[in-house]
Symmetry: C2
C-alpha cells in the first residue's frame, strides 16, 4: 500500500526533504547561482532514482527541472508545476535557527522553503513515488516541471514553455504552490487571482521648496497624490475607477455555495493579524473578497521628508506602488489603462 | 558719512564676515558644540570691539550672545534678533566649494550661513557700526540678541527671555532673519506666519501581509491615510477642516493695497520652481496665499515597500508629517485639535 510505504520511509523522506531545503536557492541573488545549479541537479538525480526520466534544462536565468513518467498514451496526463527557488531569508536576526538548516519544532519544519515551495513539491513527488513503489506503476501519465525563477517573476519560463509546448501536452495541470485550507482540511485550489502592478509619480516643483515661503501657492505632490489615491475607492469600498468591474466574472452559484460550506472564524482571522475590524467591498463575504473579487492596494508610498522631526518643505515629488488583484475575464493591461485614465 | 565708512572698510568687513561664516555652527549636531562656543565668543569679541557691551550667556543648549549700546534712556530702544547657527550642509556632494569655505562667485557669497542668518545679522551689525564710527554714537539705544538654536526650535530661548525680560525691554523688535523682496527692492517684514506640526499614523495588521491572500478583506493603512489626507482640501483648495478659518484675521484693506503695489511676475515665479501652473486657495493672490492665509501641507509621507520593483503587501502602517502655516488669531493647539478631530 502506498501509505504504508510512506510510513515505513518517513525518516528517509524527511532527511531527503531536509537535504532539498538546505540548498540556499535564493533566485534573486546572483551569488546563489551555483546553489541553484546544484539543487536542480540533485532534484533531477532524485527523480531519476525513483523511476522518472528527468533532465535539467538551462534557461536564460536559472535552470529548470523537467521529468516524465509516461505509462500509456491512452491514459490521462497530469502536468505538475512547482519551484525550487525561495525568497531571500532576510532579516536573518529573526530566525531562531538558520533559514537553510531545517529543524522540526512542535511538529513544524522551520526553514526557508519548507513551504513555498519545496515542501509542497516534495509531497507530490513522494506521493507519486509511493504509488510507483506499492503498485509498480502509476495509473496516469505524469509530467513534472520544477522551475528556479518563480520568486523573480518567472522571467524565462514563458519562452521555455512555448518552445516545449509539445513535450508538455497534458489533460490537466496541477500547481503545487498553494496551501491547505487548514491543518485538518486539505484543499484543491481551482483558481488564483492575477495581478497588475503600476507605479504612480506626481511631480511638483523642481526641488523641495520651503512650505513657509511657498505654502498655499504651489501644488504639493504628496497632497495631490493622496487625493488621487483617496478617490480610488468609494464609500462602499468598491473600486471607483469607471468600468473597473465591467468584465468581472460573476461568482457562480456553486462557488458561493461551496465557499459558504467552509469553516469561517472571523474572530480568529482578525486575531491572527491583530485588527479590530475587517474592511472590504460591501455585499461580499471575506472569502469572496479575497478569492473572486478584484482589489486595489497601495503597497508602498513615499514622498518628502521621512526622517526624525519636522522639515517644512513642499516636496518635489511623491510616488506610490499599486497592485490590483484580477479575476477571470480581466486583463492587466485593461486594469492599468482604466486606472491611468481615471487618475 | 556711514556709507563712505562702509565703502572704505568693505574688504575688511567681508573678511570678517567670511571668518564668521567659516565657523561650522551646525546646532543640530552635538559634535559642533565647540564650534558653537568659539563662534559665540568671536561674535562677543567683535561686538565689544566696535563699542557694544557684549556677553556670552550659557543656556541649556548652545550659548547665545547678548550686546547693548545704550545711549540715553530717553531715546527709543530697538531690539535686534538674529542667530549664528545654521542648517546641516548635507548633501555635501552638491556643494561646488566647501559649505564653510565662503567664496564669491558672480557677486554672490556661496557658503552655509551666507544667508539665514549670519549674512543678515552681519549687515545690521556693520550698519550700526558705520553710524557709530561716522557720528561717534547712535541716535537710538540698541540691544542685540544672537542665539545659537534657531535651527533646532529655539528650545532654550523662551526660558532665557523670561528670565531676562527686564534687560531686553525695548520699544521695537527687529527680526534680522528675513529677506529682501528682490535684489533691487529691500523689505520691512512686518509679519511671519506661525506653524503647527503634527504626525499622523495609521496602523493596520500587526505585520505586512500578502495582498494576494488578504487583499480585499483588510483595511490598507496607506489607502486609508490617503483618503484622510485627500479630504483635507476641498475643490476650491480651501482647507476642509470644520472651523479651520473661524478665527483667521481678515486681510486689512491697506495690506491688500500694499500687496498689489508690489511687482509680481507669475511667469518668473513659475519658471524659478519649474511648475506649469500655480495651485492655491481660490479667491486669493499668490502673495495673499503665501503671506496672510493659513495653509496645510504634507511635508513627507511613508508606508509599505519603497524599494525597487514590486512587493505585494498590505503594509502594517503608514504615516505622514503635516505642517500648517498659521496667521494672526490662530493658535497651534487650536489648529492641531481641529485637524485631529476631523481625521
Amino acid at each position: 500500500m502506498p501509505l504504508s510505504y510512506l510510513e515505513k520511509n518517513k525518516k528517509k523522506n524527511l532527511n531527503d526533504l531536509f537535504k532539498l531545503i538546505s540548498f540556499p536557492t535564493v533566485s534573486a541573488k546572483s551569488e546563489h547561482k551555483p546553489d541553484m545549479k546544484s539543487c536542480a541537479g540533485w532534484l533531477k538525480d532524485h527523480l531519476n532514482g525513483i523511476g522518472f526520466k528527468a533532465k535539467v534544462y538551462p534557461t536564460g536565468g536559472h535552470p529548470l527541472v523537467y521529468a516524465e513518467y509516461l505509462v500509456d498514451s491512452s491514459l490521462p496526463t497530469v502536468l505538475y508545476y512547482g519551484h525550487y527557488d525561495v525568497q531571500p531569508p532576510q532579516p536573518l536576526e529573526l530566525w531562531k535557527t538558520g533559514p537553510f538548516k531545517p529543524e522540526v519544532r512542535d511538529g513544524y519544519i522551520y526553514a526557508r522553503g519548507a513551504t513555498d515551495d519545496k515542501g509542497q513539491t516534495w509531497c507530490q513527488i513522494k506521493g507519486l513515488e509511493s504509488v510507483i513503489k506499492a503498485t509498480g506503476t502509476l495509473p496516469i501519465n505524469v509530467k513534472f516541471l520544477i522551475e528556479g525563477e518563480e520568486e523573480v517573476h518567472s522571467a524565462n519560463l514563458p519562452q521555455w514553455l512555448k518552445k516545449n509546448k509539445k513535450m508538455l501536452k497534458a489533460d490537466i495541470a496541477v500547481v503545487s504552490d498553494t496551501a491547505q485550507f487548514s491543518k485538518t482540511l486539505p484543499a484543491v485550489t481551482f483558481g488564483l487571482r492575477g495581478i497588475a502592478s503600476c507605479e504612480v509619480f506626481v511631480y511638483g516643483p523642481n526641488r523641495d521648496i520651503h512650505s513657509g515661503s511657498y505654502g498655499g501657492a504651489v501644488g504639493n505632490p504628496v497632497n495631490i497624490l493622496c487625493q488621487m489615491v483617496g478617490q480610488l475607492h468609494d464609500k462602499n469600498n468598491k473600486i471607483a475607477i469607471p468600468g473597473f468591474y465591467q468584465n468581472v466574472k460573476k461568482i457562480d452559484a456553486w462557488e458561493k455555495k461551496q465557499f459558504k460550506k467552509l469553516p469561517y472564524n472571523e474572530a480568529a482571522y482578525k486575531k491572527d493579524i491583530k485588527v479590530n475590524a475587517l474592511h472590504g467591498e460591501k455585499g461580499y463575504t471575506t472569502y469572496e473578497r479575497t478569492w473572486v473579487r478584484p482589489t486595489l492596494d497601495v503597497n508602498g508610498i513615499k514622498g518628502g521628508y521621512q526622517g526624525e522631526g519636522a522639515k517644512t518643505i513642499i516636496p518635489s515629488m511623491a510616488s506610490c506602488k499599486i497592485t490590483m488583484r484580477l479575476v477571470p475575464n480581466m486583463t492587466a493591461k485593461e486594469a492599468c489603462d482604466k486606472l491611468e485614465k481615471y487618475l
